[in-house]
C-alpha cells in the first residue's frame, strides 16, 4: 500500500509537469487550431534559462528559486510571442500541413541552436532550492516534489483566474469559440493569440524549471519526449480544454510512473503513444472534450 501511494505521489509530481506543458498545447490549439510542435523546445529553453539564472542567484534559497522561476517564465513568454509573430502569424489561414511543418522547423531550429550554443552534452542543473526529505508514514516526499506540486497547482489556479476572470481571458475564450465573430465584436485577435502564446510558453518554462529540479540533467533535446507526452496528455483530456489538459497530464504521469515501476518498464516511452492511439480511435474528443461533426 505504501509502495502504491509512493508511486502515486511520484506520478502526480511528474504529471503536474506534463500538465503545465499540456496547458500550452491546449491553449494554442484552442485559439489557432494547430499543434505547436515547438512548444516542447520552449520547455527546454525554460530549463536552460533556469540553469543560467540559477548560477547567478545563491544556491539553496527560496527567493533565489522564485527569481529563477520567474526569469525562465518571462524569458520564454517573450520567446513564445516572438515565435508566433515571426513564424506563425504570416501563415494564418494557410493549410494546416504548412503550419505544422513550420512548427516542426521552429522546433528543429531551437534544438539545433541549443546543441550549438549550449553544447549537446547534458549539464547538471544547480540545486537552487533548499532541499529536504519529509517522511510521512512510509512515504518519502522530497521538498522538490512538493515544490513541483505546489507551484503547478498555483499556476493552474492563476491560469483559471486569468481565463475566467479577466477581460483578456474572456477574449481568449471568444477567439477559441469563433475567431471571426470575436473580431466583429472588437476583439483584437492578434493581441489575444500573442498573449496566449506568451502565457502557454511561460507555463512550459515553469514546467522546464520544475522538471530540471527533479531530474537535474538538462540537454537541448530534453524537451522532445516530455513534449510529446504532454501533447498526448492534452489530447487525452480533450484538446482545447484547459481542465482537460491538467487532468490528462496528471493521469499520464501516474500511468507512466506505474509502468516504470513494473516489469514493463522498458516500454514506458511507448505507453504514452499507446494511450494516444487508443484515445484517438475510441474517443477522439478526449475525456472532457465534446465531439464535433463536420457539416455537409
Amino acid at each position: 500500500m505504501a509502495e502504491f501511494l509512493q508511486q502515486l505521489l511520484n506520478g502526480l509530481s511528474l504529471g503536474a509537469i506534463y500538465a503545465l506543458i499540456a496547458l500550452g498545447y491546449t491553449m494554442v490549439y484552442g485559439v489557432l487550431r494547430f499543434i505547436n510542435f515547438a512548444h516542447s523546445d520552449v520547455f527546454m529553453v525554460g530549463a536552460f534559462i533556469g540553469y543560467f539564472a540559477g548560477r547567478i542567484v545563491p544556491e539553496g534559497t527560496l527567493w533565489g528559486g522564485l527569481v529563477v522561476l520567474l526569469a525562465a517564465m518571462a524569458g520564454c513568454a517573450v520567446l513564445g510571442m516572438l515565435i508566433e509573430r515571426l513564424a506563425y502569424r504570416p501563415l494564418r489561414g494557410a493549410p494546416t500541413l504548412n503550419v505544422l511543418i513550420t512548427a516542426i522547423g521552429v522546433s528543429l531550429l531551437l534544438e539545433y541552436s541549443g546543441q550549438v550554443f549550449f553544447g549537446a552534452a547534458p549539464r547538471t542543473f544547480p540545486a537552487i532550492l533548499p532541499s529536504a526529505n519529509f517522511t510521512l508514514g512510509g512515504l518519502v516526499l522530497s521538498s522538490n516534489q512538493l515544490v513541483v506540486i505546489v507551484v503547478a497547482v498555483l499556476l493552474m489556479i492563476g491560469l483559471e483566474l486569468i481565463v475566467h476572470r479577466t477581460k483578456i481571458g474572456m477574449a481568449m475564450r471568444a477567439v477559441s469559440l469563433n475567431p471571426r465573430a470575436a473580431q466583429l465584436v472588437g476583439v483584437n485577435n492578434d493581441v489575444v493569440i500573442s498573449f496566449t502564446f506568451g502565457l502557454g510558453s511561460a507555463l512550459a518554462a515553469a514546467g522546464g524549471v520544475l522538471y530540471a529540479l527533479n531530474y537535474p540533467s538538462i540537454d537541448p533535446l530534453m524537451g522532445v519526449m516530455p513534449g510529446l507526452k504532454a501533447f498526448v496528455a492534452a489530447i487525452l483530456g480533450g484538446i482545447g480544454n484547459i481542465p482537460g489538459a491538467a487532468l490528462g497530464g496528471l493521469l499520464l504521469g501516474v500511468v507512466e510512473t506505474f509502468v516504470n515501476g513494473s516489469q514493463w518498464s522498458t516500454y514506458k516511452d511507448a505507453i504514452a503513444f499507446a494511450i494516444l492511439i487508443v484515445i484517438l480511435l475510441f474517443r477522439p474528443a478526449g475525456l472532457l472534450g465534446r465531439a464535433t461533426v463536420e457539416k455537409v
Binding site: P90, L97, L100, T102, V232, Y267, A270, A274
Partner: protein, 314 residues
C-alpha cells in the same frame, strides 16, 4: 509498349550499367549516390500518401525500420539455414537471397502499414500525423526490446549486398509504380480523396480504401528502402529510425511540392546532397537546414519545385 514501361526499362538498364562503369566509381560518390537513391524511394513512396492522397503521415521511418530489421533477419538468420554460408554462394544465389530479403522486409512493412492504417486513417490532418508518429515510436520501442533483433544495440554484421544497381533499380520501380497507379482513372481517386473526402464518397469512391491502399503501398516501399539501407550500412539500431528521420522524408515531399513527382525526386537529391555540401560549416548546418525549412514555408509554401505545372496526360 506504353511509355512508362519504356522509361522503366531504360532506367533499369541504366542502373545495371552504373555498376559496370569502367574503372568503377569513387567510393565517396558511390556513398552519396546510394543515399540519394534510398531517399528517392522513401520520398516518392511517402508522396503517394502525403502528396497525392493528402494524408499526413509522420511514421515513414517506422515502416523503414520494419523493413530494415526483417530483411536483415532474413539475411542473417534465415538465409544461412537455406543456402549455407552466403559468401560462399554464387552471385545469382546471393542476388536471389537479397531480393527475397528485401521483399520480405517490404511485405512486413506493408503489413505493419495495414495494421496502422486501418484504425487510424479515419483521423484527419494533424491527428493522423500524431498517431502515425506514435506508431513509429512504438515500433522503435518494440525493436529496442526484442532481444533476438539485438535490442537497443541493434543488428550488425549484416551482409553488404546493397549495390548502386539495386538501389537505382528499386528507385526506378518505385517511381514507376507510384506514377502508374496515380496516372489512371483509378488513380484519380487518390487525388479526389485529397481534395474532398465527402465529395469523393458522393461519387462512389471509397476514400478509406484509397487511403489504406496508399498507406500500404508506401509502407511496402519504405520497407524495401529500409532493407537496402540496412544492407548498405551493415549495422542498424532502433534509434536510427526515430521520428526526426520521418520528418526528413516529409520535408523532401513538401519541398518537392506535394504530389509533384519530379519535384519530390529533385528534393530528395537536394536534401541528400545539401548536408554533404554544408559539411565545412559542420555544426551550423542543421541550424541552417531548419531555418531553410521555416523560410520555405513562409516564402514558398507550394514547395520549391512546384511550378505552374503541365496537366498530367489523360
Amino acid at each position: 509498349m506504353p511509355r512508362p514501361h519504356v522509361a522503366l526499362l531504360l532506367a533499369l538498364a541504366a542502373a545495371y550499367g552504373v555498376s559496370h562503369f569502367p574503372g568503377g566509381l569513387d567510393p565517396y560518390l558511390l556513398d552519396v549516390l546510394t543515399g540519394i537513391g534510398i531517399n528517392i524511394i522513401l520520398a516518392v513512396s511517402l508522396n503517394l500518401v502525403n502528396g497525392y492522397t493528402g494524408q499526413f503521415s509522420l511514421g515513414h521511418a517506422g515502416f523503414m525500420s520494419v523493413g530494415a530489421y526483417l530483411s536483415s533477419a532474413v539475411s542473417l538468420f534465415v538465409a544461412p539455414k537455406l543456402v549455407g554460408e552466403l559468401s560462399a554462394a554464387g552471385e545469382v544465389t546471393q542476388g536471389a537471397v537479397f531480393l527475397a530479403a528485401l521483399i520480405t522486409g517490404g511485405f512486413c512493412a506493408a503489413l505493419a502499414g495495414l495494421f496502422v492504417g486501418v484504425p487510424s486513417l479515419r483521423l484527419r490532418g494533424d491527428y493522423l500525423a500524431l498517431v502515425t508518429l506514435g506508431f513509429g515510436e512504438i515500433i522503435r520501442v518494440i525493436f529496442q526490446n526484442v532481444e533476438i533483433l539485438g535490442g537497443a544495440l541493434g543488428l550488425n554484421a549484416i551482409p553488404g549486398s546493397t549495390t548502386l544497381t539495386w538501389v537505382l533499380a528499386v528507385a526506378a520501380v518505385t517511381v514507376f509504380v507510384v506514377h502508374c497507379l496515380v496516372d489512371s482513372t483509378y488513380g484519380r481517386g487518390f487525388l479526389a480523396t485529397r481534395d474532398d473526402e465527402i465529395a469523393a464518397a458522393a461519387v462512389g469512391l471509397n476514400p478509406t480504401r484509397y487511403k489504406i491502399v496508399a498507406f500500404v503501398v508506401a509502407a511496402f516501399f519504405a520497407g524495401v528502402a529500409g532493407g537496402l539501407y540496412a544492407h548498405f550500412k551493415l549495422t542498424i539500431t532502433p534509434t536510427g529510425f526515430d521520428f526526426t528521420r520521418s520528418i526528413e522524408i516529409v520535408v523532401m515531399v513538401i519541398l518537392g511540392g506535394m504530389g509533384n513527382a519530379v519535384g519530390v525526386i529533385l528534393a530528395a537529391v537536394l536534401l541528400t546532397v545539401l548536408p554533404e555540401v554544408l559539411r565545412p560549416i559542420a555544426e551550423y548546418r542543421m541550424i541552417l537546414y531548419s531555418l531553410l525549412l521555416v523560410l520555405l514555408m513562409l516564402l514558398r509554401p507550394q514547395g520549391l519545385f512546384n511550378f505552374p505545372a503541365r496537366r498530367p496526360r489523360g
